[in-house]
């Protein structure tokens, strides 16, 4: 090395020697890798998931209503011709979707990837103020992820990291994709879910006074290396105010990747509550901005 190179090398080493070390977020990286692996087997899931619990343009199934035989309206509904007065499931669910949109809510999402591997996320969001939070815990690797959205400014943190990081720009929604790993999360983001309920297709039937059953299979476009077909089966439950209280579904992925067949099933439960209540989130105290 000449003098210039020596000076540069010494300067670089001096600079880095002065840097404060950070704890290796080994478990966080492991968890990301595990989730990326699951996501890899479900290419295009985000798009496919948008079809879950879809209503618009549906093929409305023959409505089986066993609850009607037992419920308060059993007599009326069992009379000849009474069934024709029962609203079809599609408009009822569409109305519930409309009532659940553009309003604050609390949310809890549970995804089960296998025995002992459960990801649980709690959160709340007020679309009017673009304020909310998500706390996500992955039991398999014992890793937590957190997000706070304060008046459109997003702060994120994970276990092993002492600081919160502020994402550049402003946002009008929580990043379910990051906190819930993208694939299933597109269908658990209530705002996207609600849009899906309005616009996509599925087979829907009403199985209880406030319960709608849905089934849909989505074939995603094949790539050179991957084929994927996804079957969604689940139920939507409304609350007393006829807003969506719970969406529970099981997603089964069938496909091939590089010639190897795979099948993976992921149960997902999205519970919504506290519609219309105020959401208050404080800005983190220790924030590292992105340049």
């Amino acid at each position: 090395m000449n003098i210039l190179e020596s000076q540069l090398a010494n300067r670089l080493h001096d600079m880095m020697d002065d840097e404060v070390g950070s704890a290796p977020p080994a478990l966080a990286v492991l968890s990301r890798g595990q989730r990326a692996g699951r996501r890899r087997t479900a290419t295009m899931v985000a798009t496919a998931s948008l079809a879950v619990v879809a209503v618009g343009g549906v093929t409305v199934a023959a409505v089986a209503q066993p609850w009607a035989q037992r419920g308060p309206g059993a007599l009326a509904q069992s009379r000849p011709g009474a069934a024709a007065q029962v609203p079809a499931p599609r408009p009822q669910l569409a109305a519930a979707v409309a009532a659940s949109q553009n309003i604050s809510y609390r949310v809890k999402v549970t995804q089960t990837y296998g025995p002992g591997s459960v990801q649980t996320t709690d959160g709340a969001f007020d679309p009017a103020s673009a304020t909310g939070y998500l706390n996500s815990t992955s039991s398999g690797a014992g890793v937590t992820y957190e997000e706070r959205l304060v008046n459109g400014v997003r702060y994120v943190s994970s276990s092993g990291s002492p600081d919160w990081k502020q994402d550049p720009g402003t946002y009008d929604r929580l990043s379910y994709d990051q906190n819930l790993n993208g694939a299933p999360s597109a269908s658990v983001d209530p705002q996207q879910l609600f849009e899906t309920l309005r616009n996509s297709g599925a087979t829907v039937s009403q199985t209880g006074p406030r319960v709608f059953h849905f089934e849909v299979t989505v074939d995603t476009p094949a790539t050179a290396r991957t084929t994927l077909s996804q079957a969604f089966v689940g139920d939507v439950t409304l609350n007393a105010d006829k807003r969506i209280a719970k969406v529970a579904y099981r997603r089964t992925d069938h496909g091939t990747k590089d010639g190897s067949a795979f099948t993976e099933t992921t149960p997902v439960t999205v519970e919504l509550s506290s519609y219309g209540l105020p959401v208050r989130v404080d800005k983190p105290t220790s924030v590292v901005g992105v340049k």
Partner: protein
């Protein structure tokens, strides 16, 4: 938090590798990105990609070299996608009197280099790799490394004004 589920052998070895590699490679990532936050993101992304191939990779004995190559390539890809490193505009337009007066000045000069030149310079000057090792790390020829390194030095020399003599002139 449920930690009852034990990690698999592969996951355990991966966690051990991350713990051993983090401090060493986060500094390399900082020199490539010029920013700690981006460096940690870059390193995490590279490690996650390694995890996806861990069952095959874990049998290799050059894991650190593999991670180094992944870091450089991911950084180049990231730079091409975003092109939003914001320190370039702050590079001084004339040379400093003698060398870099501060770490900030040196960092800015380094960040003024295109990512490939920067990678070559960092791998040569900080990682102390040979030209052949750098070529292997970057997946290019030794000739390319030489030309990239020469251009990087030329620009850094302009920014810091290399001393033109090696001894004390008054002693002659």
């Amino acid at each position: 938090m449920d930690r009852a589920r034990p990690l698999s052998a592969a996951d355990t070895s991966f966690v051990a590798f991350v713990e051993s590699a983090w401090q060493r490679h986060v500094r390399l990532a900082m020199l490539l990105t010029g920013d700690r936050w981006q460096a940690e993101e870059l390193l995490q992304d590279s490690l996650v990609k390694m995890y996806e191939r861990w069952r095959k990779l874990s049998r290799r004995d050059d894991l650190h070299a593999y991670l180094r190559r992944a870091l450089v390539n991911n950084h180049t890809s990231m730079w091409r996608r975003h092109r939003r490193e914001n320190l370039v505009a702050d590079v001084p337009d004339r040379a400093a009197p003698t060398g870099f007066d501060s770490d900030i000045e040196a960092r800015r000069a380094l960040m003024s280099l295109p990512p490939r030149q920067r990678a070559v310079a960092v791998l040569r000057l900080y990682e102390d790799l040979s030209e052949r090792q750098i070529a292997e790390a970057l997946g290019c020829s030794v000739g390319t490394v030489k030309s990239q390194y020469a251009r990087a030095l030329e620009k850094l020399r302009y920014l810091m004004r290399e001393p033109t003599y090696q001894g004390d002139r008054e002693d002659r």
